[in-house]
C-alpha cells in the first residue's frame, strides 16, 4: 500500500462514485496505489481475506493510465418496492418518462440542493414479482430497473424515487431496497461495459 507524503500520511485509495449509505451493491470500483508491483490475483485474494463477509473483492487489474472515474459513465440499479401495486407504479413511471425535467431536492454537504432527476435517467423498466426477491415479505413487489448516467450532482436511486413522488405522488409503504447491479462505460447501444476491461486487454500483469 502506498501512502501520501506529509505529517499524517494517508493510504492512496480513491473510490469512483461510491454507492450511498443504506444501498446494496454488486459493483463498486476503487483504485489503490501500491508501493511495488504485485500479482493482481494475489492482491484480490489478500484484500478479500481482510474484508468483512459480504464485501467481496471480485477482480483486480493493473491500471493502464487514465482515471477510473472517467470509465464510470453510468450505473445500473434495481429498486425493490414491496407493497407497491403495478398500476400505480406503471402510471408513475409513465409520468416520469413523459416529463422533460423533474426537479427534486436533496440535502447535500453544501446544503439543500434542487436539481433535475430526469435527464440523467437513460432507461427505466418495470418488473412485477409475486415475491420480494430479498425473501423478506411475501407481498407483491414492484421492481424498477434503472440505468442512470453519472452526472454532477449525482442522480441517485432515491432521487429518482423523489422524482416519482413529485410527478405521481408515489409513496412506497416500506423502505425500498436498492441494489447497484453494475457500473461502467456506456456503449453505443446503451449497455454498460465493465470498466476494468481496458485494464485486462494487453495490460502488463503484475509487472511481469
Amino acid at each position: 500500500m502506498a501512502y501520501s507524503q506529509g505529517f499524517t500520511p494517508h493510504p492512496k485509495i480513491s473510490y469512483a462514485s461510491a454507492a450511498p449509505t443504506g444501498v446494496a451493491s454488486e459493483a463498486e470500483y476503487l483504485e489503490i496505489g501500491l508501493r511495488e508491483s504485485v500479482d493482481p490475483a494475489a492482491l484480490r485474494a489478500a484484500l478479500d481475506a481482510a474484508l468483512s463477509p459480504g464485501l467481496d473483492v471480485l477482480d483486480a487489474v493493473v491500471a493502464t493510465g487514465g482515471s477510473l472515474v472517467d470509465r464510470i459513465e453510468a450505473a445500473h440499479w434495481r429498486i425493490e418496492l414491496p407493497g407497491v401495486g403495478p398500476e400505480v407504479l406503471r402510471a408513475a413511471v409513465a409520468a416520469f418518462t413523459a416529463a422533460d425535467e423533474v426537479f427534486v431536492e436533496r440535502m447535500t454537504k453544501q446544503g439543500r440542493r434542487t436539481f433535475d432527476a430526469r435527464a440523467a435517467v437513460i432507461d427505466v423498466n418495470m418488473i412485477m414479482s409475486d415475491e420480494a426477491p430479498s425473501e423478506a415479505v411475501a407481498v407483491p413487489c414492484a421492481i424498477l430497473e434503472l440505468v442512470v448516467r453519472q452526472v454532477t450532482p449525482a442522480v441517485r436511486p432515491d432521487d429518482v424515487l423523489s422524482g416519482l413522488r413529485v410527478v405521481a405522488d408515489l409513496e412506497p409503504p416500506v423502505s425500498p431496497r436498492v441494489t447497484r447491479l453494475a457500473q461502467g462505460t456506456l456503449t453505443a447501444q446503451g449497455a454498460i461495459a465493465d470498466p476494468l476491461d481496458t485494464g485486462r486487454d494487453g495490460a502488463v500483469i503484475g509487472g511481469r
Binding site: Y3, T8, G22, E26, E36, A46, A50, S52, P53
Partner: protein, 661 residues
C-alpha cells in the same frame, strides 16, 4: 460484467438479521450493528458445547476497543467447542425500533438473540453502565430480576473493575467474577460444559451452586444481607451451607503465557481508540490512595520485553493498525521500559507505525521515552498527572510528586520541542480545601512562566484537566465522605478565576473539567449496597440510558429516583455519598476478597489523614497490604536482560490468516 457475490452472509438458523436489516436504514450509524470486522469470529452454533455472549455495556464506538472483552472473546473462541459472540448497547433510536418490531438484543457477530446463549458476560469498567445492562437484559427477553429467571435464560455474569462491588446490581446479575478473566471464563466454561453434558441436573440452581463452590464466582442469591435499625449493614452471610463465606478475586500469573489479544478486532465504524493495545504489565503498587485499579490488580506482573515485541509484530501484521499503545497503570514503571521503547522505535523507524505510552509519571525519564517514541516524527501528547494541587493534598493521596519536579519535567518537555502538555488533577479529594485546588492555578502559571523563560517562546501551552474524585471500594478512601456537587462546582469556578487572574498566562492555559453531579451518582453506584438496585431500576424505567454520556445523563432523574425509593429503607442519597464511614461499619463488599487486608486499608486511610506517605513495594520492603499471601501470588518483574532485535522488512502482500472462520 461482475459475477454475483461469492460469499453472501452465511445463513444462520437463529439469526435476527432478516428482521434487523429493514430497521437499519432508519437509524444513525447502522454500520455499528453489522459485525463482520477483521478479527471477528462466527462459529457453528450446533456443534458448540458452551456459548457465551459478551457485552461491553456502552455503544460500539466505546465498547469495541475494550481490551478485556477482546481478550475473553479470543480466549473463549480458541476453545474448539466454545462459541463467543459480542453485543454492545444499542442507541435509543434502535431500541425504540427493536421494541416496536420485536427484535431482541442480538450479538453483532451472527445476530443471534442473546437469550439463546448459555452465559451472558458483561464487563463493567464503570458503574455508569448499569442502566445499559438493564436495557440489554430487557431487550433480550430475559427477566430483569435474577430471581425470576428460569432454565431457558442465560446465566448473567458481571466482570470488570466495578464487579468488585456488584451489590447495586445484585438483583439483576446471577453471578459476578472479581479480577482477571482469562482463566475465570475457562473455569466457568468447564463447569457449564459438564453440567450440560450431565443433562443439566438440578436446573439453574444447581449450576449456580457449582459456580459458587469454586469460591471465585460470587452468586449474590446465596447470600443474605441483614441491616441494623440505623440503615447500616449488620452482616452478609451465606444462606446455604455449601457456599463460601468470602469470594476471592482471580489473578492471572505469568502474562507471557497469555499473550492476548493476538487477533485484535479492527472496527468498521469509527471508535474511540483505533490502535493495537498491548498491556505491558498488570497491577500497580505506587499506592495512590484514590486509585481502585491500582489496589485491586496487585501484585505487579510484567509481560517480558520479548513477548511485548512479538505481540506488537504479530498484532500489527494481523490487523494493519498504524498505532500501538503500550498500556498499563503506569507504563514508565516497567523494568525494561527504556529498552522496550528504543527497541520498538528502532524496529518501526521509517514506517507508518506510531507508538504511544500513556504517560502519567512526572519525571524527566518519561520525556526520554516520549522522545524515543517520537522518532518517526510524530509526537504523541504528553500528559502528567500530579492529581492534587498542593503538596499537602498530594501527601494525602500518596502521589509523591513535588512542585519543583513537575515544573522541571514540563520545562524539559517544552525545551525538547513539545508545544503543549496536559496536566491532570482531581477535585473533591478527602480533606481538600479551596486552597488546595487554587494551588493548581499557581502551578499552571509557573509552568507557563518557566516554559517561556526556557524556550524564549510564547508559543507554549498547557491544558489543565480536572476530574471529579469518586471514592471506590477496596481503597483506603472507601470510608471517605464525598464533597457535595455545589462545593466542587464552586471550587472549579474559583480555580477558573485564579487561572485567568493573570491574563497573559491565563491565555496559554486551557481548562477542562466535569461538573460535580455525575461524580456523586457514580459515588452512589460504586459504594452502594443491594438497596441501590431499586434506584437503578427506577431510573431505567424513567428512561435512564447511557449514563456515561453527558448528553444522556440526567442528575435530576437519579436524585428523584433516590428520593422515591431510598426513604423506605431509612437511608438517602447523602447517606451513601457524603457520609464518612467508621472503622467498624460492615461495608457492602466486605465478603468479597480483593486480597487487601481491611486493617491495612484502614491504617492507610489513617496515614492519609495524617499526610503520611507510603512507598512502592517493588523498591522498598513489603508493607503488608496483604495481597500476595492472601492470593498466593508474588511480584513478577524483570529485568530479563533481553533486547529486541531489528525486524526483517516484510515485502509483498500479507493475507490475514484465519480472518473469518
Amino acid at each position: 460484467m461482475s459475477a454475483l457475490s461469492t460469499t453472501p452472509r452465511s445463513a444462520v438458523a437463529n439469526s435476527v438479521w432478516p428482521r434487523l436489516e429493514p430497521l437499519l436504514p432508519q437509524i444513525a450509524k447502522p454500520i455499528q450493528y453489522v459485525g463482520g470486522e477483521l478479527g471477528a469470529v462466527v462459529k457453528d452454533w450446533d456443534t458448540a458445547a458452551v456459548r457465551w455472549a459478551l457485552m461491553y455495556p456502552d455503544a460500539y464506538e466505546v465498547g469495541l476497543p475494550n481490551q478485556g472483552v477482546q481478550i475473553l472473546y479470543e480466549v473463549l473462541n480458541e476453545q474448539p467447542d466454545v462459541l463467543a459472540e459480542r453485543t454492545y448497547a444499542v442507541w435509543p433510536d434502535l431500541e425504540r425500533l427493536m421494541r416496536a418490531h420485536q427484535v431482541p438484543q442480538f450479538t453483532i457477530d451472527a445476530h443471534r438473540p442473546v437469550r439463546d446463549f448459555d452465559v451472558f458476560g458483561v464487563s463493567f469498567a464503570t458503574e455508569l453502565g448499569y442502566t445499559n445492562l438493564l436495557t440489554a437484559i430487557d431487550l433480550a427477553g430475559i427477566p430483569l430480576l435474577a430471581a425470576d429467571r428460569g432454565d431457558a435464560d442465560p446465566v448473567v455474569v458481571a466482570g470488570g473493575h466495578a464487579a468488585f462491588n456488584p451489590e447495586p446490581i445484585a438483583a439483576f446479575v446471577d453471578a459476578a467474577v472479581l479480577g482477571d478473566g482469562e482463566e475465570a471464563v475457562l473455569e466457568i466454561t468447564t463447569i457449564v460444559r459438564e453440567w450440560k453434558a450431565e443433562g443439566s441436573p438440578g436446573g439453574r440452581d444447581e449450576l449456580l451452586l457449582r459456580l459458587a463452590r469454586t469460591e471465585s464466582v460470587y452468586v449474590p442469591r446465596f447470600y443474605d444481607v441483614d441491616y441494623l435499625p440505623d440503615g447500616r449493614i449488620q452482616r452478609v452471610v451465606p444462606n446455604r451451607p455449601d457456599v463460601p463465606f468470602r469470594v476471592h478475586k482471580r489473578t492471572t500469573m505469568d502474562l507471557d503465557a497469555w499473550p492476548y489479544p493476538k487477533k485484535p478486532l479492527v472496527p468498521l465504524a469509527e471508535t474511540v481508540h483505533e490502535r493495537y493495545a498491548v498491556e505491558i504489565f498488570r497491577g500497580c503498587t505506587r499506592g495512590c490512595r484514590f486509585c481502585q485499579a491500582g489496589m485491586i490488580t496487585r501484585p505487579v506482573r510484567e509481560r517480558s520485553i520479548t513477548t511485548v515485541g512479538q505481540m506488537v509484530r504479530e498484532g500489527l501484521e494481523f490487523s494493519g493498525f498504524h498505532e500501538v499503545g503500550l498500556l498499563s497503570l503506569s507504563s514508565a514503571d516497567h523494568s525494561e521500559i527504556g529498552d522496550m521503547c528504543s527497541g520498538l522505535a528502532q524496529q518501526y523507524e521509517g514506517t507508518n507505525v506510531s507508538l504511544s505510552l500513556p504517560s502519567t509519571r512526572v519525571d524527566a525519564f518519561n520525556i526520554d521515552l516520549a522522545q524515543e517514541l517520537a522518532r518517526n516524527g510524530r509526537r504523541t501528547g504528553l500528559t502528567f498527572a500530579p492529581e492534587g494541587g498542593s503538596e499537602r493534598i498530594r501527601k494525602v493521596i500518596n502521589k509523591m510528586v513535588s512542585k519543583d519536579d513537575l515544573i522541571r519535567t514540563v520545562v524539559t518537555a517544552y525545551t525538547n520541542g513539545w508545544r503543549q502538555v496536559k496536566l491532570y488533577f482531581m477535585c473533591g479529594l478527602p480533606t481538600e480545601t479551596d486552597e488546595d485546588v487554587l494551588e493548581i492555578a499557581e502551578m499552571a502559571h509557573e509552568v507557563i512562566r518557566a516554559g517561556r523563560a526556557a524556550t524564549g517562546s510564547r508559543d507554549i501551552r498547557c491544558t489543565v484537566s480536572i476530574g471529579g474524585f469518586v471514592p471506590k471500594p477496596h481503597t483506603p478512601f472507601q470510608w471517605a465522605g464525598m464533597a457535595r456537587p455545589e462545593v466542587i462546582d464552586n471550587r472549579l469556578r474559583l480555580l477558573k478565576q485564579a487561572v485567568n487572574a493573570d491574563r497573559s498566562l491565563g491565555r496559554a492555559i486551557g481548562f477542562r473539567y466535569h461538573d460535580g453531579e455525575p461524580s456523586l451518582i457514580e459515588g452512589l453506584l460504586s459504594r452502594g449496597d443491594r438497596r441501590v438496585s431499586a434506584v437503578i431500576r427506577r431510573v431505567w424505567e424513567n428512561g435512564g440510558r447511557f449514563d456515561g454520556w453527558s448528553e444522556h445523563f440526567s442528575y435530576q432523574r437519579w436524585v428523584e429516583a433516590a428520593a422515591e425509593v431510598l426513604p423506605d429503607f431509612g437511608v438517602d442519597l447523602d447517606w451513601y455519598t457524603t457520609r464518612e464511614r467508621d472503622e467498624l461499619e460492615v461495608l457492602p463488599w466486605d465478603h468479597l476478597d480483593s486480597g487487601l487486608d481491611k486493617d491495612w486499608l484502614w491504617q492507610d486511610w489513617q496515614d492519609a489523614l495524617g499526610e503520611y506517605e507510603q512507598d512502592d513495594c517493588r523498591w522498598t520492603p513489603c508493607f503488608d497490604c496483604g495481597v500476595c499471601p492472601a492470593m498466593d501470588t508474588e511480584i513478577q518483574i524483570g529485568p530479563t536482560g533481553r533486547k529486541l532485535l531489528p525486524l526483517t522488512p516484510v515485502n509483498g502482500l500479507r493475507v490475514p490468516s484465519n480472518a473469518q472462520q
